[in-house]
């Protein structure tokens, strides 16, 4: 029987190639989408789950009031937190602190110099986390002040594949922390692919503490990330309640600060905090794309259902004859279901080929290193998905086609019932709703991204070079900048702590004249910058003067931004003396607000201090049109100061774009998904239109004989489908509006929605639908009516 049905199916494919192709293309595209998203989602969900103690592994965060009733969530902690947790909290089995070095660090052997990214971690790091150690003992690798643990990659780069690096020495300079010493390699680790954190080496936390200014080892100085392994089965809610005032009770200036333990492996997907509470993050996109991929597959399934039932007449005779010779309904349902399954497995093969071909492209698009290898779990999942697809797509046609009585079928007395038409039209409307929704999504995301990138940031990001303060520059930064300023093509030079895209340092507990009690809670961002910083970045002054011609390390002056002045409530800020990051500073200037983080956040109050301490980046403004000369000059100068080191610089505007990488990826991905959804929907519409034209051939012929013109026939046939698309537009617009508003609400600065986005998407869908259906309608209208009538 199976062979017989298979044969029947293969021959009917041969005979009705077009509907087979429509279904095959649709289902393969749908399955390919699902497969790609499956690989992506599986990879995202797997991030950071490799740590053996994942269930117990928590990160310590602080919820801090940042003024005006808002709460900020910070992951930085005081270095005192580590010992306090280890000694005083019984629920903490083990803890580790990590200080992340902002810039790339220079490491040297006698033969080789390399730059790498590194952290400083306390002794238990390799016991708390499960980064595999290839050599070295996880209990002791970070015990000694002069030990260093390096990644296997770095080891290979320094010593080649074969040499054992244990016991070899590296000299390492960390500018930020005034470290310049020789370290002995005590271990080699590996970073698993599914780790969200990447670093090349670890120095002992003791080294960090040794070089830190003792003033900054205090509860108010937050510099390190702290992680803890809690005792198994700790009730995290109760524990968080108990720990909330852990910091506040230790320092009177820190009251209001709440300690919060969050699961470490949640950081990657659920890393965004709003007003002290977890609120989404990448998980939003994981869910979003899973839904979108399923929708694309659903659209393809709908095509299959619609085409199968619409073209039922072709199969009804077979059903009738088979029933007459004794087939029961069950065996026929089985036959139709197996046909649908067969088709979905054909599609799976095509989808696998497509996915294989698209993998490199998809990896660039998503910035991942996914492999499409057919093995155990993946095979099982995709076979299951395909089975389900086949069953869902096949069930309706199978039940529908087999329900008729043999006698009626054989006499050709099948009328399309109202219910059936209703289902078919409903499914088409559903398809177009999704397509229109995706088109709206794409246009809103693109417009918002465009807005972000062209938004007036309050500073000029064009033609600004940024590079690390490292190596010789640590001590000779100012000499270097002075010489750089003389170079042709260079406009001005300065330096800064952190980057323009994220001023993350913050503090509170400051005082100023006329301050109210609750204003003591206000958190200020602050950064150390050089003279001419404000000019180099093109930040506008509101009043007062900038740090031009200022002596660095001047402890008596401060510049604030507009927001800071506003929240402090200062009427005449210039000349006012305040206590902020040191006593008795005179406000010499106020800058207009500029974006200090991504546009997700509102501009925070901020202070600029003229200091060289903690400075990590040098910035050089160059003349537009003279980039080449300027860069060539700078490269030469850099080589003079830092022999043997490459001049590794970034353009500020490129860095700024990287800030919105996630959004850009989402935009590109949704563009392709929307394209596929509309393509598959139109394929289905094309098939349905062709079928309708065929079914109404007799009617059309009679109409033409009675004098209706070709164009009238065309309009009559097209309008049937155009109506459906119009209904879809009406249904979708409110939904799209709600979703778009919701997505935009996460940005502090956003486009305002107007009707154009929605109508535009509707018009696109309508035009594509008219083109698809119109071609079929014109063909039907042009047929010679006699040939159709004679057949009857």
């Amino acid at each position: 029987m199976l062979k017989h049905n298979l044969l029947l199916y293969l021959r009917s494919i041969k005979k009705h190639k077009s509907s087979f192709l429509i279904n095959l293309v649709g289902l393969s595209t749908g399955l390919a989408c699902v497969l790609l998203v499956y690989l992506w989602v599986a990879d995202e969900l797997d991030k950071d789950k490799f740590h053996e103690n994942d269930e117990q592994l928590y990160q310590v965060r602080r919820n801090v009031p940042i003024g005006q009733g808002a709460i900020g969530t910070f992951s930085s902690n005081s270095s005192l937190m580590l010992t306090a947790l280890q000694e005083e909290v019984p629920e903490v089995e083990m803890a580790t602190a990590v200080f992340e070095i902002d810039n790339k660090v220079r490491l040297e052997t006698e033969e080789k110099k390399l730059t790498a990214i590194g952290n400083m971690a306390s002794e238990d790091f390799f016991k708390v986390f499960s980064f595999p150690l290839i050599s070295g003992d996880k209990h002791t690798v970070l015990s000694d002040v002069s030990s260093v643990v390096i990644s296997s990659e770095l080891a290979t780069n320094f010593f080649g594949q074969d040499l054992d690096p244990i016991g070899k020495t590296l000299s390492i300079k960390v500018g930020e922390e005034n470290i310049d010493a020789v370290f002995t390699i005590t271990g080699v680790f590996e970073i698993p692919k599914n780790s969200s954190e990447k670093f090349d080496f670890l120095l002992p936390y003791k080294t960090f503490l040794k070089h830190r200014d003792p003033d900054n080892i205090a509860w108010y100085s937050n510099s390190s990330s702290v992680y803890a392994l809690l005792v198994p089965k700790t009730d995290i809610n109760a524990f968080n309640q108990k720990m909330a005032d852990f910091v506040a009770k230790r320092n009177k200036y820190l009251k209001g600060e709440q300690v919060l333990f969050t699961k470490y492996s949640n950081n990657y997907l659920r890393g965004r905090y709003e007003n002290g509470k977890q609120s989404g993050g990448r998980i939003t996109y994981v869910i979003l794309f899973s839904i979108v991929a399923l929708f694309v597959l659903a659209i393809a399934c709908i095509n299959f259902m619609n085409l199968s039932t619409a073209r039922a007449s072709r199969r009804l005779k077979e059903v009738g004859v088979k029933k007459a010779v004794g087939a029961n309904r069950k065996s026929l349902i089985f036959q139709f279901l197996s046909e649908a399954l067969l088709l979905s497995f054909f599609s799976l093969i095509c989808a696998c080929l497509v996915v294989g071909l698209l993998m490199p492209w998809f990896n660039t698009l998503t910035g991942k290193e996914l492999n499409f290898v057919l093995e155990g779990e993946i095979i099982l999942s995709i076979v299951l998905i395909t089975l389900l697809t086949g069953l869902i797509a096949g069930s309706y046609p199978a039940l529908y086609l087999t329900k008729f009585k043999a006698v009626k079928v054989l006499k050709g007395k099948i009328e399309t019932s109202f219910g059936e038409l209703f289902v078919r039209k409903g499914l088409v409307i559903f398809q177009f709703c999704i397509s229109i929704l995706l088109i709206v999504a794409v246009s809103v995301i693109y417009m918002q991204l465009d807005y972000i990138q062209s938004k007036n940031l309050g500073f000029n990001k064009d033609n600004v070079l940024v590079f690390d303060r490292q190596d010789a520059l640590i001590n000779t930064m100012e000499v270097f900048l002075e010489e750089a300023r003389q170079l042709p093509g260079v406009v001005s030079t300065s330096y800064m702590q952190g980057g323009m895209t994220n001023f993350s340092n913050s503090s509170r507990g400051h005082t100023w004249p006329g301050q109210s009690e609750e204003d003591k809670e206000i958190t200020f961002r602050h950064a150390h910058v050089g003279p001419e910083f404000i000019e180099t970045m093109g930040i506008a002054m509101k009043e007062g003067r900038s740090y031009i011609n200022e002596q660095p390390d001047n402890d008596s002056k401060i510049i604030l931004n507009e927001t800071a002045v506003k929240v402090m409530g200062l009427k005449n800020p210039i000349g006012t003396v305040i206590n902020m990051r040191g006593p008795n500073r005179e406000i010499i200037g106020v800058v207009k607000d500029f974006n200090i983080q991504s546009v997700y956040n509102e501009i925070a109050p901020m202070a600029l201090l003229c200091r060289t301490e903690w400075v990590s980046n040098l910035v050089v403004k160059i003349k537009a049109g003279e980039e080449k000369t300027a860069i060539a000059g700078l490269t030469k100068l850099y080589a003079k100061f830092n022999p043997g080191l490459d001049f590794d610089f970034r353009f500020l505007d490129n860095q700024y774009q990287l800030l919105y990488l996630a959004e850009q990826r989402v935009a590109t991905l949704s563009k392709y998904f929307a394209g596929m959804a509309i393509l598959i929907s139109c394929l289905g519409l094309f098939g349905l239109a062709a079928f309708t034209a065929e079914r109404r051939r007799k009617e059309i012929s009679i109409r033409k004989v009675l004098g209706q013109s070709t164009s009238q026939v065309t309009i009559m046939l097209s309008s049937e489908f155009v109506k459906l698309v119009l209904i879809s537009i009406l249904i979708t617009i409110p939904i799209a509006y709600l979703l778009a508003t919701d997505w935009l609400s996460q940005f502090a600065y956003k486009i305002s929605l107007h009707a154009g986005y929605f109508l535009g998407a509707g018009i696109v869908a309508l035009l594509v639908a008219i083109l698809t259906v119109g071609s079929q309608a014109i063909r039907a209208g042009n047929k010679n009516p006699i040939s159709a009538l004679r057949e009857e």
Binding site: R11, K317, K322, K405, A406
Partner: protein, 220 residues
Amino acid sequence: MLLQLNNIFKWVNSGGQRIFLLKDINLQVEEGEFISIMGPSGSGKSTLLNVIGMLDGFDEGEYNFLHESVHTLKEKHRSNLYKEYIGFVFQSYHLLDELTVQENLEMPLLYKKFKGSERKAMVADMLDRFNIVGKKDLFPAQLSGGQQQLVGVARALIASPKLILADEPTGNLNSSQSEEIMELFKQLNQEGVTIIQVTHSEQNAAYGSRVINLLDGRMI
């Protein structure tokens, strides 16, 4: 006795009115009979045939087939009954276009749990008997009308039914093809198969042993 219809009524409701398709049909068919049902268009010939063939139900009356009362049987039993004992021949042949002659013949056997080797033997036997061995790999579209109906009859016979129901088997055929098919029926009847056919032609009816005339759903 092969089958017996007692006071069979069948109707449809249309616009609040009851329209009778069959009215008070009483019929006894003995094994080995060759019956022709005649009557004008719309007189209920095909309906009666479908009721006998259990493809269609009825609203009132009793129907006994080989001492089983069909009207009380469950759908599943009923289909087992006709699967085993009844073969159909249609006016427009109703061969499946995508299957070859051989495969069309094999199809009814697929629903009757015969083994592959048995099916092959039965198909070969039938091809032989109807002299169409040479055409076994052709598709219906490649055959003439008469040849297609020959295959149709062969398909009806393949599971050795006791009763053949033929609804205007020669309606689409020319006269010489008709004659051929009717000769075949006569021969089958002589071999012991009971045949009931619906026909318009007096000439075809003459092959049968008994004629039933219908008018407006009534036997006259």
